[in-house]
Symmetry: none
Subunit: 202 residues, 4 copies
DNA sequence: TTGTAATCGAGACGGTACGTCATGTCTTGCG
DNA sequence: CGCAAGACATGACGTACCGTCTCGATTACAA
């Protein structure tokens, strides 16, 4: 299956250039922000020619995305499963508080906003994100919820994907649009409300 | 409160130039997308000098924001209140299905993504958004939920803001990150799940 | 008579930028040579944006050409006429020796080679050169020869343009192709040989 | 005489690559012109790696020069001597008309301009040119003039190199700088004027 | 009625970054 | 080892926009 435009030969790729580029991209997006992140800047910081970036990535966003990928693969072994103490509410609060902490961490905030923006405007990148980054994490969440479902802590007819979005959606939205303070208490509140529902207790 | 740099005199502002600029911004963001939207492009399309834009708006995002504002004020009278038939679930489904339809409408999709991106990266704009665009709408939602609360359809101790985010958050997230199909059925599912909670019915 | 591509408005042109560009071009061609002369270099040296060069000149060669033009117009008044002592041979030797000196002057050598190269490869520039730079000078030469012709020192049927090329051509060729030493003696020799012809004296 | 940088072993050189490179250089300079002639282009057209060019030639100009050399050696046997009918004027006109024809031939025009430019800016190449290309031809000219001198058709004290430049210089200049039409009549005129001199016939 | 002071369209300006192209060096794998 | 292939750091290309600026020409308020 040949490429139309003389596809570069990946076997000849210089791996240290690749690493330098991804590291530079992550560094820079944190330092100068997404809007002022430039391909020239990345190349300069990485000690690499611009062409070496354009040869292997179609866009600034793709570089950033790859940087995130390796970041996550770098920590592999770390998050293989979500905590499962048997107490779903406690476990979810734990995880969501961790998420809140990460989103509030300036080292992650700007890069993740950048990634979100790229995904927002590039469906291809969104698909890659869904498959490579969000997918595995969502699988973990699904498994934890499924375990709870088997334990009778979640409704049998519940669509787990909807459940996931109900728990994490409010958080991400508040973070992205700064529509309110992103505190551990908020995380707790969301978990409680999602589990109990909006209706009065019977 | 005087500006240091000879603040422009708003009374002398040419309203037709303003309208042309906002209209051009909306048109263009739909045509060429957020990334390729330029101040020069807006000025050219609006038949206006670049300086006329820079005189009245601090950034491209501010123009876009203003364009949305006038868009909403243009339709005023339309959404003064949310439907209140007494049946909260039905009313919410109605409203969320309308939201889904809007987000899927190509005329709104790209401009709203653009606005979202600007908000993501500009806290000042986010504040303006919270006050001028999101605020009034959220107030309507809050009122509808409050009415339901008074009718005993929602828990008394419920934080209405959390409730709002639990209902609309999943939708906005799925739209923004394209993490799944954005259908009327999904809207229904979200409403039902939010109202009942994730737990099994007792 | 409108231009097709939104011709720039010459009346708004910044004359000091123009001067800085031409001066920088002349300086740089002398310093780094024609091959390494770059538009970016000129812009940098002149403290000017690249676009300001591209706005007003179609090519690097055109800038260089303009630089020569202003150089010559700058010295106006200097060479209005060629010396006419009545002794054609002496006058020509004087002029040719001056030309030799100029061609050997490092300040002129490199820039003139650059100009020659541009003319060689760009007919449009060659036409401009013929009209604006070579033309006036050639007219002076023609006049001096015509004066000699009237004085009976040149053949009546002589084509003065051919005569001019016979006198200056050898010099320019030797200079351009370095086909031999370019000395005052050579200048004298050329004048003598051209005047007497190659044939034996009768 | 060892090179510092592991001089390539000429005996292992692939002669067919060499020929392909020289042919490609000549073809391309005619097709795209001197300015757009690139080493990559030559390598691509020749089906050769870039390194094979850089290994054997120091510069683009050297390739071009070599291409000319082989071109001339290819026609060897053709011009071993200049015509010598005894009538110098007729013979010179014949030769100069041939030169005019060659310079006007589009197959030779662009390549020769390219070579001329390289020579203009590279003294080393100019020396090589003087020795390998111009030298032999000049020797033929010198011999023909010498023959005429012996026959009493040229002045005894004449410097034959000056004479050669007086005859060919005007032609080359007019060609290179396009300072006038390059016609057979012009060739004749130059010959006549050079032989008779500018002075009136006695 | 006539300044006079602002906005306006237009667009030149010094810059930064774009994405492409060519340079000359280096590395890989074939013959 | 020469060679075809092509990745690499470098740097210039010519273009697109940035945000500032200057230029008449309207336009509206104050003298």
């Amino acid at each position: 299956m040949a490429q139309s435009r003389t596809a570069p030969d990946a076997s000849r790729r210089n791996p240290s250039s690749r690493r330098a580029i991804l590291a530079a991209a992550l560094d820079l997006v944190g330092e100068v922000g997404y809007t002022k992140l430039t391909v020239e800047g990345i190349a300069g910081r990485a000690g690499v020619g611009k062409q070496t970036i354009y040869r292997w990535w179609p866009s600034k966003g793709a570089v950033l995305f790859d940087a995130f990928l390796t970041l996550n693969e770098g920590q592999d072994g770390e998050v293989q499963t979500l905590p499962d103490s048997g107490d779903l509410e406690a476990d979810l609060k734990l995880v969501l508080r961790a998420t809140v902490a990460e989103l509030n961490d300036p080292r992650y905030d700007e890069p993740m906003r950048a990634l979100s923006t790229e995904i927002t405007h590039d469906p291809a990148l969104a698909a890659a994100y869904a498959e490579r980054l969000d997918g595995p994490l969502r699988q973990l969440k699904r498994e934890r919820l499924h375990s709870a479902q088997r334990a009778g802590q979640l409704a049998e007819e519940l669509d787990l994907d909807v459940a996931i979005e109900m728990v994490w959606g409010p958080l991400l939205n508040r973070w992205l649009h700064r529509s309110g303070p992103l505190t551990p208490e908020y995380a707790d509140q969301v978990v409680e409300t999602a589990l109990h529902g909006l209706r009065p207790r019977p």
